[in-house]
């Protein structure tokens, strides 16, 4: 491929930011200085193109260090990786956390999403507007922007800070005064609290080590039972591990509830020699923060579970795709990988068994759609995060075209538990259709918001009691995040299982439970959900690209008194029936359920 690059040159700072990610260039062929030796040998073709997947990390390198991606900077990345500039530009303009326009070195993203609204974040935003001016005002050395859910919903408010040349940070809760300090460059170094009120209680499974072990320390993890499951797996052999997972009948906890054992079996029995394990840690569903709690509280468990999956399936490489707004979790996981590698728990000879496995972290850049498994593959591979059509399914044609197992963080966290307790034992612990325990994210108008672990079959009422009860008078509950549905208040005694919720036209989704009291502005909440889908649609297919826009417009007209039910129903139908992926297919669910249940009527 004979690529025409741009003429713009990168500054030395930009080059060094990119080289810090990609390593120094080898020759003039990959962006280095041209030497006479380059005239005698060409290094292009497959060698160069095989580095395409380093595009997003390189873009992050520029964004993190320089604060934006200039023409020269992008051109340099394109030369380094042999990528046509138009394609790299298409990728860079896909992500909310990347900017191809010059902007101030400090950018603060302030959550104004549904869960924080239910907790009253709009007051903070009004304060902020009066002190710091409107969002998006790029004058001066800093600016602030509104942001979709940042996964800190238990705090009721949150801000994510991008600061050129400094690590990204999160402040949560984020009172207006703290945001203003951050805009002035005073960035707090303390991380927000974990958000697991049950931490340390007896009887926990998934959360048993959260808040108990030192998340940095491998030895402490092992002292608390860590890596016993991997040792056991290696002792049992891959086929036996696979059998335990299948016997456990564990369903995926990412939202789709697909049986994990079937995925593992599909990839394991595929004849291809190269296979991948992908941990989907792009937790961007509104109101969901359970995966963050797991990763921040028990990071080694995620790595151990991925290693076990790799062993069972026959994969040598795992990718952990984590959303860009989780810098603390990313740092902890990177530490866990380094330490595990040093102790032979990852690498060319895991536990001396001859099995090779390693994990690489890939950071998202602000795109909800990249939590869709095939969009996630495209994002890792260095393409725009647009979903692929299925079939073929990931277990046949996944990451880099190879059979791939994609599991959510919480699903993986169940794996060591299953091995230690045995698959049949795990299966017996549930309700038949839903086995094991489940993490629920309680946010909004509850007294003690946070992640709660309960056995499947617990009712919503019990869960609300666990979270200290509703703050104010209960008005509505949104289960499953933006892609979920409102549930009738009369259904508080419905057991929370995949099958019970399906029976009442609901969904467990990601396990987000947003609680609204009578003070909440439900019209605004529903419009925020519609806006969320409009902003997060990748734009690939017509029903979602235009349908989400029309849905938001129709809701606005409705608020002004017009009857738009026929339009909204039609939009819901085409979104559900004709969209490529789950984002579009579920983009009208919350809105539709709000009408069906009359939650907009006060």
């Amino acid at each position: 491929m004979d690529i025409k690059f741009m003429h713009a040159e990168a500054t030395d700072a930009e080059k060094s930011a990119v080289d810090a990610v990609l390593g120094a260039p080898d020759s003039g062929w990959d962006g280095g200085d041209h030497s006479r030796a380059d005239d005698r040998i060409a290094r292009l073709g497959h060698d160069a193109r095989s580095r395409r997947d380093e595009l997003l990390p390189a873009l992050h390198g520029l964004q993190d260090r320089i604060g934006w991606i200039s023409e020269g900077g992008l051109n340099y990345i394109c030369r380094r990786l042999t990528i046509p500039p138009a394609e790299a530009y298409g990728v860079a303009t896909f992500y909310a956390l990347l900017s191809v326009q010059e902007r101030p070195p400090i950018v603060v993203h302030v959550c104004d999403d549904t869960a924080c609204r239910a907790a009253g974040v709009m007051e903070i935003i009004e304060d902020l507007e009066s002190i710091a001016g409107a969002s998006g005002n790029a004058d001066g050395d800093s600016m602030w922007l509104t942001s979709p859910c940042l996964g800190q919903c238990d705090k009721g408010s949150a801000a994510f800070i991008q600061s050129a040349g400094a690590p990204n940070r999160v402040i949560a809760p984020s009172p207006a005064t703290d945001i203003v300090s951050a805009l002035a460059g005073e960035i707090p170094s303390t991380a927000p609290s974990l958000g697991a009120p049950q931490a340390g209680s007896a009887g926990l499974q998934l959360l048993r080590r959260v808040g108990v072990v030192d998340p940095w320390d491998l030895e402490d993890y092992r002292f608390h039972g860590g890596y016993a499951a991997l040792r056991m797996a290696v002792h049992m052999g891959p086929a036996a591990v696979l059998r335990e997972i299948k016997d456990a009948e564990v369903r995926g906890r990412g939202g789709a509830a697909f049986p994990a054992g079937i995925k593992w079996q599909g990839a394991a029995s595929h004849p291809s020699r190269t296979k991948y394990i992908v941990c989907n840690a792009d937790e961007s569903e509104t109101g969901t923060f359970k995966d963050r709690v797991l990763m921040e509280g028990d990071p080694y468990a995620v790595i151990e579970a991925m290693t076990i999956a790799g062993y069972a399936v026959g994969a040598e490489k795992g990718y952990l795709y984590i959303r860009g707004e989780y810098p603390v979790a990313e740092e902890l996981l990177a530490n866990a990988i380094t330490k595990a590698r040093a102790k032979g728990l990852l690498g060319s000879d895991v536990l001396g068994s001859g099995f090779a496995f390693d994990v690489e972290i890939r950071r998202g850049a602000g795109a909800y759609i990249c939590g869709e498994e095939t969009a996630l593959f495209n994002s890792i591979e260095g393409y725009r995060g647009e979903p692929r059509s299925k079939p073929p399914f990931p277990t046949d044609v996944g990451l880099f075209g190879e059979p791939t197992v994609v599991n959510n963080v919480e699903t993986l966290a169940n794996v060591p538990l299953i091995l230690m307790g045995g698959g049949p034992g795990f299966a017996a612990s549930g309700t038949g259709g839903s086995n094991g325990t489940k993490l629920f994210c309680l946010a909004g108008a509850v007294e003690k918001p946070g992640v709660y672990e309960v056995p499947f079959g617990t009712t919503i009422r019990e869960l609300l009691d666990l979270a200290g009860g509703v703050r104010g008078e209960l008005h509505a509950i949104l289960v499953g995040g933006a892609a979920g549905r409102f549930l009738p208040i009369s259904r508080l005694d419905t057991p929370l299982t995949f099958e019970h919720l399906r029976d009442i036209k609901g969904t467990l989704g990601s396990g987000a439970i947003m609680v609204f009291n009578t003070e909440a502005d439900m019209g605004a909440a529903v419009r925020r959900v519609a806006a969320f889908f409009r902003d997060e649609s990748c734009g690939q297919c017509v029903p979602c690209r235009v349908g989400t826009v029309r849905q938001e417009e129709a809701l606005a007209r409705m608020e002004a008194g017009s009857d738009e039910r026929a339009v909204l129903d039609d939009l819901a139908m085409v979104l559900r029936d004709a969209s490529i992926c789950g984002l579009g297919q579920l983009a009208a669910e919350a809105v539709q359920s709000a009408f069906e249940l009359g939650v907009l009527e006060s």
């Binding site: 025409k4 297919c541 235009v546 417009e553």
Partner: protein
């Protein structure tokens, strides 16, 4: 020594397997690997398509060809789904009709479909592109290039947002009118891996602000564009157009019914690309290549597509 007369040899292919599907209750037997769209066409079922092109990899983005397949939760795109034995396909069920209607309404309300040839489908499905309200204000020149992904702008719903913007004219050979762009990805594919391997354009931005763009939206002469015009050849909506056609359309002199098409061979080099010269008033007004031509598959180079004006230059 035995000699073989290889000229009489026949190449033996493995027998093509057949699969049987049912389309609207009628059994259709197609070759394995055929798509649902192939099966529909074989069965004589007319199916609307926009983003599908015979010579391109299907991207199934427009969703106008969706059909209902028994056992599938959502509708499936006919253009890309492989026909499997036993599939029961409905092409005219209520769900299919409703989805096609809505897709056409959504497109019609946001994009100028005047030249997309969708009129009879709009009529057939009773699609009313005006039901979402009057069209919103057009964007200014270059405004859509500045859109930031994920940045929200509140709407009041009084008007329906569109992708309308001024036409982009930055060279003498062809123009881009993205107010007509349905984002079918065809031009990107033709510019890239499916034909030209130039990669001058890609989809940039996200969601409703997604658009076809060069790097940093530079003008075509500054981009990697080699002006082969293969993007024009595949554009289904007239968003990309040779300047000759655009100029005549603006002047109101473009008259397709008056045009004759003469098939000839391009004389620039020895490859043998077939050309179709579109002639109006005894003047060539446009050159294309037939899609079914074995050499070009409808694609040309800058010389074949644009290098014909000399044949009608008049010596003063």
């Amino acid at each position: 020594m035995t000699t073989f007369d290889t000229t009489t040899w026949t190449r033996i292919e493995p027998p093509a397997r057949k699969v049987k599907v049912s389309i609207d209750g009628e059994d259709v037997i197609v070759t394995e690997g055929a798509t649902v769209l192939d099966a529909c066409r074989q069965a004589g079922v007319d199916t609307p398509t926009l983003c599908y092109g015979d010579t391109l990899t299907p991207v199934n983005a427009c969703r106008v060809c969706v059909v209902e397949v028994e056992g599938s939760r959502a509708l499936v795109p006919a253009c890309s789904r492989e026909a499997e034995g036993g599939m029961e396909i409905s092409t005219d069920s209520n769900r299919v009709r409703k989805s096609r209607q809505l897709v056409l309404e959504l497109l019609g309300s946001s994009v100028n479909l005047k030249l997309a040839g969708m009129k009879h489908w709009m009529d057939r499905y009773d699609a009313d592109a005006g039901r979402f309200g009057p069209p919103g204000e057009p964007a200014g020149a270059g405004e859509r290039d500045q859109a930031q992904p994920g940045h929200h702008h509140d709407v009041d719903g009084a008007t329906a947002a569109t992708v309308t913007e001024p036409p982009r004219i930055d060279n003498a050979l062809y123009m881009r009118d993205y107010a007509k762009c349905i984002l079918c990805y065809k031009c990107v594919e033709a510019c890239g891996e499916d034909a030209q391997n130039t990669f001058a354009i890609a989809v940039a931005g996200r969601g409703f602000e997604a658009r076809i763009s060069t790097e940093f939206a530079v003008e075509l002469p500054d981009s990697a564009c080699v002006f082969c015009g293969n993007c024009i050849g595949v554009c289904p909506t007239g968003a990309l157009m040779p300047m000759t056609e655009w100029t005549m359309r603006q002047a109101g002199t473009w008259n397709e019914e008056e045009q004759t098409i003469t098939r000839t061979v391009c004389s620039f080099c020895g490859v043998g690309c077939n050309l179709e010269l579109h002639v109006q008033d005894n003047k060539v007004v446009k050159a294309t290549s037939p899609e079914d031509h074995s050499v070009t598959s409808g694609h040309l180079c800058i010389k074949g597509r644009f290098g014909w004006e000399h044949i009608q230059s008049v010596d003063d």
